[in-house]
Structure formats: C-alpha cells, structure tokens
C-alpha cells in the first residue's frame, strides 16, 4: 500500500534533502563568487529559483492527484492533494517573498505587475481558497470532490492568467528592467543544482509527512466514530 511506502521512505528524503541543502548553502553563500553585475545580491537566486520551481511542481501534484481522485475516488490520493496544497502555500509564499527581496536591489522595486509575479500571486490565492474551501465542508467525500474540482479549474486558469498578464504588460509598457535570460556560469550553477535537488527532496519529504498526518487523522476520526457508535447503541 502507498501509505506504507510513504512511511518507510520519507525519512530518507528528509535526510537527503538536508544534506543537499547544506551543500548548496555552502556553495551558494561561501564558495561561489559574487555576480559581476548584481554583486552579492545574486545569492538570493539560490533559494528563489528552487522555491519557484517547487511551488509549480506542488500545483502539478495537486492537479494530477485531483484528477486521479475524481477518477478513482481513493481517499489517500485526496490526502495527497490536500497535503500538496498546504505545502504549496509555503513554497509559493516563499517564492514571492524571496523574489520581492531580490527585486528591491535589482529592479529597484518590491513589486511590479510582471506576468510571473501576478500568476504566482493568483496561484497563492487559489491555494489559500482551496484550503479555505476544505475547512467549510463537513462531509468528507464532498470536501474531497469539491476541492478537486477547484484545483482542476485553477490548473486550466493559471496559464491563461499568465499569458493575459504578459500580453497586458507588453501592450501597455515593456518592463523597464529585465534580468531574464542571463547565462549562468558553472560556478554559480552548482549551488543552484544542489539547492534545487535539495528543495525537491524536502518537498517530497514534507508532502509525505503531511499526507501521512492527514491520513492518520481521518483514520482516528473514523475509529473514534465507530467506538462512539458502539457505546451509544
């Protein structure tokens, strides 16, 4: 069963993630040179980029799990979806937060209406709405079903949001400063690779733990309900 597999291997993912992130931090903070153009500020990239890619992966997991749930109605898959949405809030908020800190010295603004920023904000809003929706439904099966529907509709919406905002900006005023498309030297690539792998391992670990927690909580509730039922009858 899937839950056994999670219980058995999640610790390894956590430990490996810690090792990779530690190596990545050493390379990123100490061993790599400051950028010739951006200086020391560039080091925030080593957390920002992994945050951004893991948060998109989170939404991917959420979408696939939601489709799978509507198809097979497996409660554990719903727990997986629920877990990845919760963890997704953390990573998306992290991406926006670190991006904002990076934006201040390089773009000279905390915030701009760039397509990526807007679509990440919408992503965060959808994830928070998803978690809120789940708290407002008593029936467990209906909660899972409605949440899955929201996740799927959101998944269809996000690319459209991205393209429409991109279009909106290019038709209006081109971004004054754009750092995209800079080539990365090898020395700077290593910490990025280590951090990315570390973040993905951490993500797997966190989703594993959270899925297990949600699963056990439901198991506990079901058992308690059965016990109470026996007492009352």
């Amino acid at each position: 069963m899937m839950i056994r597999w999670i219980r058995r291997f999640e610790g390894w993912f956590g430990a490996a993630g810690a090792v990779f992130i530690a190596i990545g931090l050493y390379y990123g903070l100490a061993a790599s040179p400051p950028d010739s153009y951006q200086g020391e500020v560039v080091r925030i990239m080593y957390v920002h980029v992994p945050f951004a890619s893991t948060s998109m992966t989170c939404y991917g997991v959420l979408t696939v799990a939601s489709l799978w749930y509507l198809w097979k109605r497996d409660p554990l898959v719903d727990n997986l979806a629920h877990a990845s949405a919760g963890i997704g809030v953390f990573f998306t908020a992290g991406a926006l937060y670190t991006g904002s800190i990076w934006g201040k010295p390089t773009w000279n603004t905390w915030w701009t209406w760039d397509a990526r920023l807007v679509s990440f904000t919408i992503l965060l809003l959808i994830l928070i709405g998803y978690l809120m929706l789940r708290t407002f439904i008593e029936d467990r099966e209906r909660e899972a079903r409605y949440a899955a529907i929201l996740a799927i509709v959101g998944a269809v919406d996000l690319p459209i949001v991205h393209f429409s905002v991109e279009w909106w900006r290019t038709l209006h005023q081109p971004l004054s400063v754009s750092q995209r498309g800079i080539a990365i030297a090898g020395v700077m690539l290593y910490p990025l690779i280590f951090m990315s792998i570390g973040f993905y391992l951490l993500l797997t670990y966190m989703i594993g733990v959270r899925t297990q927690m949600l699963y056990l909580k439901q198991l506990l509730e079901a058992k308690r309900g059965r016990l109470l039922g026996e007492v009352h009858s």
């Binding site: 959808i126 709405g129 929706l133 407002f136 509709v153 959101g154 919406d157 459209i160 909106w168 038709l171």
Partner: protein
C-alpha cells in the same frame, strides 16, 4: 426530457420566478448603482481622468453585481428541497449547468444594459455608433464571469460561509476576463483602431469557450451522490 428542453425549462423557470419576484435584478441593479457612486466619490477627478478610469469602474461594478446574482442563483433552489429534486431527476447534469448558466447570463446582461445608459450620462460618453461592438464585449465578458461563476455558485451553495467563499474562489480565476474586458472596453471608448483591442476580445472568447467546456464537464461531479 431531452437535453435542450431541460436547458430551456430551467432557464424559463428562473426567468418566470424573477419576473414575479423581481428580487434578483432589482437588488443587483441598486448594488451596482451604489458601487458606481462610491467609486465616483472616491476618485473625485476631472472629466478626462474619470473617462480613463471608467472601463475599470464599470467592470468592477458588473462583476460585483454578478457575484450577488450568482450567489442567489442556487440558494433559491434550496427552498422546498428543489436542489435535491434536481439532483434526483434523471436529467443530464450538463443540461442543469447550461440552464443555470443561461439564466445567470441573462440576469447579468439585463442589469448591465440598464446600467450602461447611466454610464453614458455620468461619464459623458459618445457611443452611439459603437454599440454593436460594445454589446459583443459585454456578452463575451459576462459569459466569462458567469461560466465559472455558475459552477462555483453550485459548489458553494452547499457549504458553510457560502457568501464569503463565492467571491474568494471566483475573483482570482477571472483575472483574465477583467483584464480583457477592461482593455477592450477602454480601447473601444477611446476610439482606438480595432486592431489594437481585437486581441482582447479574442482572449475573452477563448476564455469563454474553455471555461464553458471545463465547467460543463466538471459540473457532473458537483451534483453527485
């Protein structure tokens, strides 16, 4: 009953009960009027700036009133267990969605068409030769809001805190509609050449098609036992 009859009867039923009670349209209309007035007071600017802000104000008012109407669309079905009855009937789920979508779209469009002359008066617009294109933008934008909105209205009606959850879920998703509708309306009213704002109308139509199909498909999972 066949598919199209279900759609027609559902929409007709909503329309009939609206004609008798006039609850929905009148509350939507006065709410929109108040939103417009509040906006006009908070941006007390000259005529020129007001005109630039106008498309945004107009669509915010339309979307907010749409949310009022959408919220009521399925709550009306809770009385006398109508929703249960709808669910138990052996009629295609998609037809229920399309019937509700039709009535929601119609209510929103009626309110918008009543409000539009007020905009013309308040903001001094000269629009008479632009009306056909404007109506197209209006329909495309409103369909975008109500296609996703009808789905979420059916979803939030059976949960706690439904008045809060509908806008929280709906508004982030219709950002493309807002951008497209505001840009297209702005371009039209400024008198830009059509090639400048046609992409926005196309965006609206693409959004409408995609979300009507997706909502039609997932609606089956909402009314499901």
């Amino acid at each position: 009953m066949n598919f199209f009859n279900v759609i027609r009867w559902l929409a007709w039923k909503d329309l009939l009960s609206e004609m008798r009670s006039r609850e929905n349209i009148s509350s939507m209309f006065f709410f929109a009027l108040i939103v417009i007035l509040i906006f006009s007071f908070s941006f007390s600017t000259d005529q020129q700036t007001a005109r630039e802000l106008m498309p945004g104000i107009m669509w915010v008012a339309f979307v907010f009133t749409g949310i009022i109407g959408l919220g009521k669309s399925f709550t009306a079905e809770l009385q006398n267990d109508c929703l249960e009855n709808l669910q138990m009937n052996p009629i295609p789920r998609g037809a229920i969605y399309l019937g509700k979508l039709a009535s929601n779209l119609l209510f929103m469009l009626i309110v918008e068409l009543i409000l539009f002359p007020l905009f013309v008066i308040f903001f001094n617009l000269d629009v008479f030769e632009k009306i056909p294109l404007f109506v197209l933008i209006l329909i495309a934008g409103t369909l975008g809001v109500s296609s996703v909105g009808t789905l979420f209205s059916a979803m939030t009606v059976q949960i706690r805190a439904r008045e809060v959850m509908l806008p929280i879920l709906l508004l982030p998703l219709i950002v493309p509609v807002m951008i497209g509708a505001v840009e297209a309306t702005g371009g039209l009213l400024r008198g830009d050449p059509i090639s400048l704002y046609r992409p926005w109308i196309e965006l609206l139509i693409v959004f409408d098609v995609i979300f009507t199909i997706v909502s039609f498909w997932v609606f089956e999972f909402i009314l499901d036992h």
